[in-house]
């Protein structure tokens, strides 16, 4: 064979590689398209779920919507359109006096950051507070700025709460789980507790949080429940990750003169990262639903509360757009956060075959 033939063979291999990549992208695109086509078909008038499922983009008609593309976003009755138009401010929420601004101090009322913080912490500046502290009179609810009535601020508050809970829980779960590797007694004490609370559906713990903290310290309800749940999961995942480290590696480290501290630092800690990271993804995916649901049960601010309000409005209005929009939002949020996590995990575990295969 001559050298041109060699180049031919290589060019063919390159072409095949490129073709495979393009094919997989095309398949994913087909999948996403089919998803929306199915949604549109289910929301058609001929469909038995016509009243239950709003169209994704608008109410004019599915095929026109697809043709009109982005324009469909701005039509009224669609799920995505509803979400979009209520993001900054919402007439429905204004009518119901559902705002996310408990801090009515005149100096802070136009400060979104301050309002998010006060929503998170449950600070309330009311006329009582004003009388007690001799401060200025609170701003009347009617004069609150628009953003207080938008979906956006409610959703931001919930997202921060859930992420905080997941962070606390991860720290606690890893602390207990990893310390149990060095002190086996910790495991003996904690495993029975964790397996009892872990097997009972976590949701059964939610009412306790609502009763104990719902009225006095609402922040503890969402954050507390998510922390509790994440702690349990991360404890199990860190234990299992350590169990999956081959004993031979640990024994080899011992023969190389490893001390408990050095083995913990250089074997267990890096060796458990891939599984712990995978566990964190699972924990976070569950935390969204849990955090939102506990807000549905009785917290006055947050994305869960929006769902709760619409739960009652929906019967009167017969318009599921709002609910579907909020649920879709949480789905998209979960996917986006998960994708971000995936990128980070891939970097952290680039030495590991398992880490490479995570996800796709």
């Amino acid at each position: 064979m001559t050298s041109t033939d060699v180049l031919d063979v290589r060019a063919k291999a390159q072409r095949d590689k490129r073709r495979r990549r393009i094919a997989s992208i095309v398949y994913i695109a087909i999948g996403i398209t089919l998803f929306f086509v199915a949604w549109v078909l289910l929301s058609l008038e001929a469909s038995p779920w016509h009243y239950d499922i709003p169209p994704p983009f608008g109410a004019v008609g599915p095929f026109q919507d697809i043709l009109q593309g982005v324009w469909g976003l701005f039509r009224e009755e669609g799920a995505i359109a509803h979400f979009w138009s209520n993001l900054g401010t919402s007439q429905d929420m204004r009518i119901k006096f559902v705002h996310a601004c408990p801090d009515l101090h005149p100096a802070n009322v136009n400060n979104p950051f301050r309002q998010v913080a006060s929503s998170l912490m449950g600070w309330k500046y009311t006329s009582d507070t004003a009388a007690l502290t001799g401060g200025p009179l609170p701003v009347p609810i009617g004069q609150l700025p628009d953003y207080c009535y938008g979906y956006g601020i409610h959703l931001v508050v919930t997202i921060i709460r859930i992420l905080l809970g997941a962070a606390f829980g991860t720290i606690a779960g890893l602390a207990i789980g990893l310390s149990s590797l060095v002190f086996p007694k910790v495991a003996q004490v904690f495993t029975p507790i964790a397996s009892f609370f872990g097997t009972a559906p976590i949701f059964i713990a939610a009412p306790f949080f609502v009763i104990w903290f719902g009225v006095e310290v609402p922040i503890m309800t969402t954050i507390g429940l998510v922390t509790f749940y994440t702690t349990l999961l991360m404890y199990f995942f860190s234990r299992r990750a350590a169990e999956n480290i081959p004993v031979g590696i640990v024994e080899s480290a011992l023969t190389l003169g490893g001390t408990p501290r050095s083995i913990f630092r250089w074997v267990y800690l890096p060796g458990t990262v891939p599984e712990i990271a995978g566990g964190f993804r699972i924990a976070l995916a569950g935390a969204w639903g849990l955090g939102v649901l506990v807000e549905v049960l009785g917290i006055q601010v947050g994305g869960g509360h929006l769902i709760d309000i619409w739960r009652f409005l929906i019967g009167q209005l017969q318009a599921p757009s709002a609910l579907v929009a909020l649920i879709t939002f949480y789905g998209v949020l979960a996917v986006v956060v998960d994708a971000l996590l995936l990128v980070i995990i891939r970097y952290l575990t680039r030495w590991s075959e398992a880490g490479r295969r995570l996800g796709l």
Partner: protein, 405 residues
Amino acid sequence: MSLTRLLRILFWVGWAAWIFGSGLVVLAFSSLGDWQFEEGTLHLTWQFISFWVVLWWAYTFVFRYRRSVAAVIRIGKGIVRLPERILNAVKNNPLFFITWAVLLVGWQIVSYIAPKGTLEHPLVPGFDYIIYNALYRLSGNWDLFGGFSFAGLTLQFGELAPFPAIEGAESRTWTAVFLALGFHSFMTLSRLVAGLGVGLIAGLATGLALPYWSALRQISWAPFNFLRMIPLLAAIPWMQFALGVDLRATTLFIGFGVWVMLVVATMNAVANVPDRYIESARTLGASRLRTYFKVVVPGAMPELRTALLLAGGLGWSLTIAAEFLGFPTGLGFMAAAAVQETNTARLVIVAIVVAFYSLLTFYLLNQMFNRMVSWMPQRVSGTTDISKVAGAAGAAGRAGDQLHE
């Protein structure tokens, strides 16, 4: 087809037929139990149900006499040996029991010092309060309202009681407490079993079918991964709007959640079957279809254990949460009613009952799984016991310290 296999199939077909047949037998002897059917509602007495269940299981005893007797003897021996086993467990793992004892005693002590709150019930109820107050008052949850309706047929449970519940303190009996717990458990379990069953079958079937065609696998990747990430708990209000409040709704809802989760898990398990098995089968001349069913499907099973357990947990969460938000029966309803009256004591009872059932669910799912993969090498216990390794590390560390001194 071999004779034993034919006999086995006959056994199960006969058993399925007998579930209905035994009901008819009880109906024929009306003295055994009474029933009425009017306007789509079937009124049954508790005697009817008990005789029916007894006859139903009698079938197993008759046709699998040896096995049944062996099972009874095994259970009997287990009960006799229970005290001994508990003692052994305490000896082997004292910390487990000490932990629980400390937790329970701690709860009781906290119940004395915790603020009573402004509510009717204490915020942290002691066990005396839980048993003599909350548990006893559960008899109020045993009511005439209940009914189990499906496909236009309603089973009326009110008349199931050996005696009807009467409003007022005199109706509080321990019998009614257990009837109430039994009734609500039955409602929850029937919803769970229906939903979980549909979800498991559909999920395994879809998850095994899709990856057979590479194109379908890649096309379904994005939609399923999006559906999987939707927080289903947050979707319950919409579910009630769209599907209503009945068995069909919970079955579809729980089934959907379990289905989506299992499809993704099964597809991952299929993808993780070692290539060498597939290649080996192909070089031995097996067709694609044959390789798939004889090699890929059994090879994917071990990885499904965690997925099955997760499906069980998800099923429980969805059932309880759905009941909590709008059903008039079930354990979730009991929890919701307890939250309405801020009755933490009753919540504790519901939590214990649910924990018991979900432990049972996990046990059963594990058993089912073990039966599916009896070929799998058993994990040798002890080889991966991290505490031993950690202990060894500790010992080595101490030895090292001594050397340095």
